[in-house]
């Protein structure tokens, strides 16, 4: 009946025994932390240090114990039609998941796991009648076991679904990492946030080890030097240092996240993304769950001619999981992103590129300008309020308004020009965004409902916002500020018959 490519697993399989040293590695944290403290204090530990150490040690002992227990009790096997899992010592649980309910099998390996050749498999399955996913994970099988398990789960269920072996895909990947793309990494500015987090962690660690970072020689010198130069030089230097570190940080994040990136189409209609330097990830998206793609162009990246690509698929999980698991391309050149979007959707040309672009009415521009003006007025008033008591703030308010006004006008114009919608083939396309432009191409048959909304201002201008509900991706995709007639006609064109019974003519 099945394709017969996979031999039925004979019995229960366990997690790898190499997990034991991995679990014991948890104890390294209290040991290292003790070491640092002993060094930092010259061997004298006070009561606080003892309390911290003992609670840390206790906590990590418990964690190690729990993990060890999990290793001893966890098992899994694949039968003809089900994946069976069992675990627990006191509360024994065994789960049996029908293979045709399994939506995903992701393989992740954290650095310590990789050191020991281990990996985790996370299995997502549909809940009875629901769109929500339930996750079952097997932490710490050997890398080969993980690969086998993934292949078996995905191939097996495809064989079950289609009843025949799917067409063999060609071997060349759809996309691979191109290290020249690293030039786009600094334009993602995530590094700055990460930088502050790192500084915070370092400060906490030193503080706990009773070293006041401000009293360290190096830091002390820097602070002194900072005090001796004029303020504006100091601020300029500080900004430069933060930007430089932010650039290094975002390059680091790019390398960690996208090293070895490879997007390929596998047998049985599965798109697979593999990536990661320290943590290696493998995410599989079934093509039949793919409802579209989204091209995201944040401001800086757009200025650099780059973009990112996300899959709009059902069953990826929460919003956060959609962001991480749905990423199909690193920040990369726009043309490359569009090529991959087309390849992924199996089209000649990326459906996000509108053949027939329908702009939105001029009133939409006025709304954006009004909104910008409101921001300027609000900011200026905020600055001006202290001016009631302190002179100088009124002038500052004027300057703020004068600087902000051209900026918001440009943003409003850009936001208006970005607004567009249309239908290409079987895709509904919607584009919008002020700081980040988002272009989504969503399969019309993926639309499972419409929301028409309009604020009191929109009603006065005869506009509405049309929202397509879908089970995939972010769940709702908006077409903002279209005229009532155009919006309703578009909804009818995209999904004939759904909205029509409730629409009147004339």
């Amino acid at each position: 009946m099945t394709a017969g490519t996979v031999a039925v697993a004979p019995g229960w399989q366990r997690l790898s025994a190499r997990l034991i040293p991995v679990h014991l590695s948890w104890l390294a944290v209290p040991v290292v932390s003790t070491g640092i403290t002993v060094l930092g204090t010259g061997g004298k530990l006070n009561l606080q240090a003892y309390l911290t150490l003992s609670s840390l040690t206790l906590a990590f002992l418990i964690v190690s114990g729990v993990n060890l227990m999990r290793y001893l009790t966890t098992g899994y096997r694949i039968t003809d039609s089900r994946l069976e899992l069992r675990s627990g010592l006191l509360f024994r649980s065994s789960r049996s998941i029908p293979l045709d309910r399994i939506r995903s099998a992701d393989v992740t390996a954290h650095p310590v796991h990789r050191l020991f050749g281990l990996a985790s498999v996370s299995v997502g399955a549909a809940v009875q009648g629901g769109s929500s996913n339930r996750k079952f994970s097997l932490d710490g099988v050997t890398a080969t076991q993980a690969g086998d398990l993934r292949d078996q789960l995905l191939n097996r269920r495809n064989a079950l679904n289609s009843g025949e072996a799917a067409a063999v895909a060609d071997d060349a990947p759809i996309a691979e990492i191109d290290w020249s793309w690293i030039r786009y990494a600094p334009l993602t500015i995530w590094g700055v946030g990460g930088l502050f987090a790192v500084v915070g962690v370092v400060y906490r660690t030193l503080h706990d080890a009773q070293i006041d970072p401000l009293k360290l020689g190096v830091v002390h010198d820097v602070v002194n030097a900072f005090g001796s130069v004029p303020l504006w030089v100091g601020i300029l230097l500080l900004v430069l240092v933060i930007v430089a570190l932010g650039v290094i940080g975002s390059i680091g994040i790019f390398v960690e996240g996208w090293h070895g990136f490879r997007l390929e189409r596998e047998d049985g209609g599965i798109l697979r993304v593999r990536r990661g330097l320290l943590i290696s990830r493998s995410v599989s998206v079934e093509e039949r769950r793919l409802r579209g793609v989204e091209v995201v162009e944040p401001m800086l990246l757009r200025w650099g001619g780059g973009a990112r690509l996300h899959a709009v698929a059902t069953g990826l999980g929460s919003a956060e999981e959609n962001r991480t698991r749905g990423a199909l391309m690193p920040p990369s050149p726009r043309a490359e992103v569009l090529r991959v979007a087309a390849a992924v959707m199996g089209q000649e040309k990326s459906p996000t590129v509108l053949a027939e672009l329908r702009p939105h009415p001029r009133v939409a521009l006025r709304r954006r300008l009004n909104r910008g003006a409101a921001v300027v007025v609000f900011t200026a008033v905020l600055v001006a309020v202290p001016g009631l008591w302190v002179p100088g703030f009124l002038q500052a308010a004027w300057i703020t308004a004068a600087v902000l006004l051209p900026a918001v006008i440009l943003l409003a114009l850009d936001a208006y020009r970005t607004l567009a919608h249309g239908i290409t083939g079987r895709y509904l396309v919607a584009r919008s965004g002020t700081f980040a432009h988002r272009t989504v191409a969503l399969q019309c048959e993926g639309v499972i409902g419409w929301t028409v909304s309009s604020s009191i201002f929109q009603r006065r201008s005869g506009l509405l916002t049309l929202t397509a509900s879908t089970a995939a991706g972010r769940g709702a995709y908006r077409i903002r500020d279209v005229t009532v007639t155009e919006g309703l006609a578009f909804a009818e064109e995209a999904v004939p018959g759904l909205l029509a019974p409730f629409v009147e003519r004339g």
Binding site: T314, G449, I456, T467, L499, F502, R505
Partner: protein, 166 residues
């Protein structure tokens, strides 16, 4: 394409219960009424500070009462619902209005919801969830029996469709 003629959404067939006006008013009064009473008491019992509390009282009372009166009446004009053999259609909101359509074939669960104030007024609401993360369709301010019948009707229609409605 019918671009020359203008289109508009027609309101759904059924209004919600008239009692819903009182329910919305009660909901709307939860914060303004105690505030207004407190400020009024302060105005009455602290004569030297009247010039301050008088203005604060007015600043709280005028918009508060306007909201309590206008919002429920306005909502009653807007809130409506309808079910056909294919879809659920709802209208809600007042300043920001929303019309939503969900095909019966995509409905996953149908729940009854009844808040404490709603119970006081003998009202009931239903919540229709689809596979979309964009939120459930809600019809609030229905008569209890109407809500029960509606849930039953929708549940039956939903069970008739196979698949996981994505």
């Amino acid at each position: 394409m019918p671009n020359s003629e203008s289109l508009r959404l027609r309101p759904p067939r059924h209004r919600v219960e008239r009692r819903a006006i009182a329910w919305w008013a009660a909901q709307a009064s939860l914060i303004p009424v105690p505030t207004i009473l407190t400020l009024g008491a302060l105005y009455l019992f602290i004569p030297p500070a009247r010039f301050v509390f008088g203005w604060i009282f007015l600043a709280a009372a005028v918009p508060g009462i306007a909201y309590m009166v206008a919002m429920p009446l306005w909502r009653y004009q807007v809130h409506r619902w309808e079910t056909t053999d294919e879809a659920v259609y709802t209208a809600s909101g007042w300043l920001w209005q929303k019309w939503r359509v969900a095909p019966l074939s995509r409905i996953q669960t149908v729940d009854t919801v009844r808040g404490p104030l709603e119970q006081l007024f003998g009202l009931s609401g239903i919540k229709v969830t689809t596979a979309s993360a964009s939120g459930a369709l809600k019809i609030r301010g229905l008569d209890r029996q109407v809500a029960v019948d509606l849930v039953e009707h929708l549940t039956r229609a939903t069970q008739a469709t196979p698949g996981d409605a994505t």
